[in-house]
């Protein structure tokens, strides 16, 4: 509804009208109420001033008649009323010197004022302090004892010193206007005007005369005016809207016709012409539209070709994109798995590196211990070396001493041999002495008595010689013992010397060994400290390595994440490519559909005209008596109508092959018989079976599944066309789009267009 321009225009107009009418109503009401208020104000001020003047007269007369002195009249010593009928009021009431007099004199006057106009709520005299000596009768009812009722019913002799009351009482024409208007809201919600005029007694400001105007009536009048105006405006608006709608709808009718024509053109009826019914803008538009259609139809074919080429390019791009996407997907998957492996490897490496660090730390500690132990060993080895060198010294001394002993023993042996010699001498001496003594004894015996004493001496000598011989024998035995002893000692010393030599060589070996040990210990110490240093470096290095590995791991994790993102992006890309492909294919399908349908209609027309033109009977055109063409392999056939079709539809069919995607565009009968192929597949026969199989395919019966389905399709599914997707033996993806062909209401066959999709 809202899509209709007429409605839109009418709605806009109504909106503008509504705004104008609302604004004018408001302005009229405002102006009227202003005038009403001004009139009311004039009236109220006149009333107030008249009242004030009259009450001035009353007051001055009371003075001049001697009723009151001036002081009494200007009494402000307000006495609270504690007796009489007004006593006991919840709001205090006051008495002055003059108020009873005023009750008598001005009450009626005031009541007359109040009754003069239903708008006047009260008309009262107040002194300059707001004291109200005499109220209107309506507000001077006897007290009832009910505080709320009395508050409204009995308001006389109170001090009304609220801001409005005080302003009214104290106003003495400072602005020269002669009256004071105050606007306020009553507690009942109605707007009240308090119009007051000052009251002077003998030129002296006594107080004021206040008239209370209720604005309820005025407001009601203004409201009534506003309602009346609004209602009449609404009626005008309705009328205007209906009129507009009718006019605009009528004016829009040619535009609608134009739109329908454009729709028909868009649906393919390019020959559509619009009747130009008027000379106005719509008429001009229709003329221009006709011109435009002609121009567009001219350019459309070029554009379609261009768009086809573009679609081809886009298709290729999409295929490349799809392939690249798949490759990228594989790469990304590899990358993801690689990075996962890397992460795992890095994890292992981290663990290993930490283990290395731990091991290095242990090695370092052990090396430190080894160093300390090697230090101990070095000290021990030094001690050992000192001990060994002391032992070597001792050995040398011992060896010298043993040698001295051996020498001494040899000397002893020699000496004892010498002693033996001497003993032999002594033996000889004793032997000779023995002989001598014997001979002496013999001599003495020969001498007889005289030799007796001599024989005693000789005996003694002999005995001494015997003893000497005994002694020498003993000495000899001793010497033999000594010599044995010395010999054994010498042997022992030699053994000892040899032993000492062996021991000293052993000790020398020990010393050498200790030196080697010491060297080894030194080397061990330095090696251990080197190991310690190196393992410390190793620890540091492995810690750094751990840090690096952790960084690598982070990077790997990032890589993994980003590869996931990449995968995501690629899959999105692939999906996009597929969508694009779908879109392109959809577009292509719609194009193909249009073309196959229009092609089918054209061929239908050709066949139908051939029948209606009397060239062929219906029977001829539905001829299924396929005549073998001899010498053809695969087999080719003639029918009654095929040569006619060769002349009449080949060019038309070939036009479809201007689109590079179209591989073939052929008419087939309901059995798959192809009477007339495209020129491309109707090459002259060469005799080469393989070459002719591809170069000349006309007049064959294509009863493969795809061909048969296309031939049999009669539009029973309501689609109007049949799309078959298949793969050629070359691996190309093909679309076979076919539409049924009817001649005189009979299903004749179909029109097939083959699209190469790759």
């Amino acid at each position: 509804m809202m899509n209709r321009i007429s409605v839109k225009i009418v709605v806009a107009l109504i909106g503008v009208l509504t705004v104008i009418m609302v604004i004018s109503t408001y302005m009229i009401v405002e102006q009227r109420s202003q005038v009403l208020r001004e009139e009311l104000l004039v009236k109220a001020s006149s009333l107030a001033r008249i009242g004030a003047k009259a009450l001035e007269g009353v007051l001055e007369q009371s003075l001049s008649s001697g009723q009151f002195f001036e002081e009494q009249l200007f009494d402000t010593d307000y006495q609270e009323i504690t007796d009489g009928p007004l006593a006991g009021s919840t709001i205090p009431k006051y008495r002055t010197a003059y108020d009873p007099y005023l009750d008598m004199t001005i009450k009626d006057f005031q009541d007359t004022f109040a009754a003069s106009d239903p708008m006047v709520v009260f008309a009262v005299l107040v002194d300059r302090n707001g004291y109200l000596p005499t109220h209107n009768s309506e507000y001077a009812k006897p007290l009832t004892g009910n505080a709320e009722a009395d508050k409204v019913g009995n308001r006389t002799k109170r001090l009304f010193n609220d801001p409005v009351g005080l302003a009214a009482a104290r106003y003495h024409n400072e602005d020269g206007q002669g009256f004071l208007r105050q606007v306020y809201k009553r507690d009942t919600g109605e707007t009240m005007w308090d119009v007051s005029a000052p009251v002077y007694v003998r030129g002296k400001h006594w107080g004021g005369f206040r008239i209370g105007f209720s604005m309820q009536q005025a407001d009601a009048a203004i409201l009534a005016l506003r309602n009346t105006l609004a209602f009449s405006m609404f009626l005008v608006l309705i009328f205007a809207s209906v009129t507009c709608l009718l006019v605009v709808s009528r004016m829009m009718r040619p535009l609608k016709d134009l739109t329908r024509a454009a729709e028909r053109i868009s649906e393919g009826s390019l020959e559509e012409q619009i009747k130009v019914a008027s000379r106005d803008e719509v008429g001009q538009l229709a003329g221009a539209f006709n011109n435009m259609t002609q121009v567009i139809v001219k350019n459309l074919q070029g554009e379609i070709d261009k768009s086809n080429r573009m679609v081809m390019s886009v298709k290729e791009a999409i295929q490349q994109l799809s392939t690249s996407g798949n490759e990228l997907m594989a790469i990304s998957a590899q990358q993801a798995s690689g990075s996962a492996q890397q992460a795992a490897a890095v994890q292992q490496a981290t663990t290993t590196s930490e283990e290395i660090a731990a091991t290095a730390r242990q090695v370092s500690e052990n090396a430190g211990r080894v160093e300390a132990l090697a230090g101990h060993a070095a000290a021990s080895s030094t001690d050992g070396q000192e001990a060994v060198s002391a032992a070597v010294d001792g050995m040398f001394q011992l060896k010298g001493q043993v040698r001295s002993i051996a020498e001494a023993m040899l000397e002893l042996g020699e000496n004892s041999q010498k002693i033996g010699g001497i003993i032999d001498i002594i033996d000889e001496i004793s032997d000779q002495t023995n002989l001598l003594s014997l001979n002496a004894a013999i001599e003495a015996a020969g001498a007889g008595e005289a030799g007796k004493r001599f024989s005693v001496v000789a005996n003694e000598v002999r005995r001494l010689a015997d003893r000497t011989a005994d002694a020498t024998n003993q000495v000899k035995a001793l010497i033999v013992q000594i010599q044995q002893a010395t010999n054994s000692t010498i042997m022992l010393t030699e053994e000892g010397s040899k032993g000492v030599d062996a021991a000293s060589s052993l000790v020398a070996n020990i010393s050498e060994a200790l030196e080697k040990i010491s060297d080894a210990v030194d080397e061990t110490t330095s090696a251990a400290s080197e190991i310690k240093l190196m393992t410390q470096q190793q620890t540091t290095a492995s810690e750094q390595m751990t840090e690096t590995i952790v960084e690598v791991r982070d990077v790997a994790v990032q890589v993994a994440t980003s590869s996931q993102e990449t995968t995501q992006a690629i899959s999105e890309l692939t999906a996009l490519a597929e969508r694009l492909q779908d879109m392109v294919e959809e577009d292509l399908l719609s194009q193909a559909k249009n073309r196959v349908l229009s092609g089918a209609r054209e061929l239908e027309r050709v066949l139908t005209e051939a029948v209606s033109g009397g060239r062929f009977s219906l029977e001829d055109i539905f001829d299924e008596n396929y005549q073998l063409i001899s010498g053809t392999d695969p087999q080719k056939y003639h029918t009654r109508y095929d040569s006619y079709l060769d002349d009449s539809i080949r060019d038309y069919q070939d036009e479809f092959l201007d689109n590079p995607m179209v591989a073939y565009a052929v008419l087939v009968d309901r059995n798959g018989y192809l009477p007339t192929h495209n020129t491309r597949f109707t090459q002259p026969m060469t005799g080469n079976v393989e070459k002719d199989k591809t170069g000349n395919r006309t007049k064959r019966i294509f009863n493969d599944p795809v061909g048969l389905r296309a031939a049999h399709y009669n539009g029973a599914d309501g689609n109007g066309y049949l799309q078959q997707v298949y793969e050629r033996d070359t691996g190309e993806k093909m679309w076979d789009i076919s539409a049924p062909i009817f001649v005189k209401g009979r299903h004749w066959g179909g029109f097939r267009i083959g699209y190469q999709m790759d």
């Binding site: 002989l435 014997l438 004894a441 015996a445 020969g446 005996n459 003893r467």
Partner: protein, 187 residues
Amino acid sequence: MQEGQSYEIKQILQGMRTDYWRNLEAVEDVGGGSVSEYLVIRCGTKRYGLLAANCREVLKLPRLVRVPRLPEHLRGIFNLRGEIVVVTDLCPLLGQGAQVIQDGFRLVVIEAGTIKTALLAEFTEGLVSIEEGQVEPLADGSGTGFRDLVFGKVVQGEDVLVLMDLGKLLGRPELIVDQKEKAEVNN
């Protein structure tokens, strides 16, 4: 051992000194019977006493000059201060085997009558004084040949000392004259 030896040496020294003092204090004992001095020698296994009066001197065995074709008991000759003395071995004469000469053998020069010879002795014990009463006749029946050459025997404990009659010994013809004949006769 040294202590033992030194002890022995001290003992010997003490013994020697004691003997010396005893010899100084000894009173010369002059027996009532006739006492003869004998030089005791040992030849082979037997001890023989030679009357000191017939003994001239005892010599160490000098170098003997062997004389061929002498009887068994004549062992050789030697020069004693310009005098040629024959060395006689008693053992073959007294029925024992000839002695094998060794170091330490002595020659006892004896003289009886005109005959002077040196007896080969294995050992000379010294002079002993023997009273006539002590001498016992030689009882056992050893060879008649040399019984007449002996005074008798003296028994000293277990040992037997045979006292030789040097006069008769030296008077034996086989010692001096016609040695050849005598030898043949004896044979």
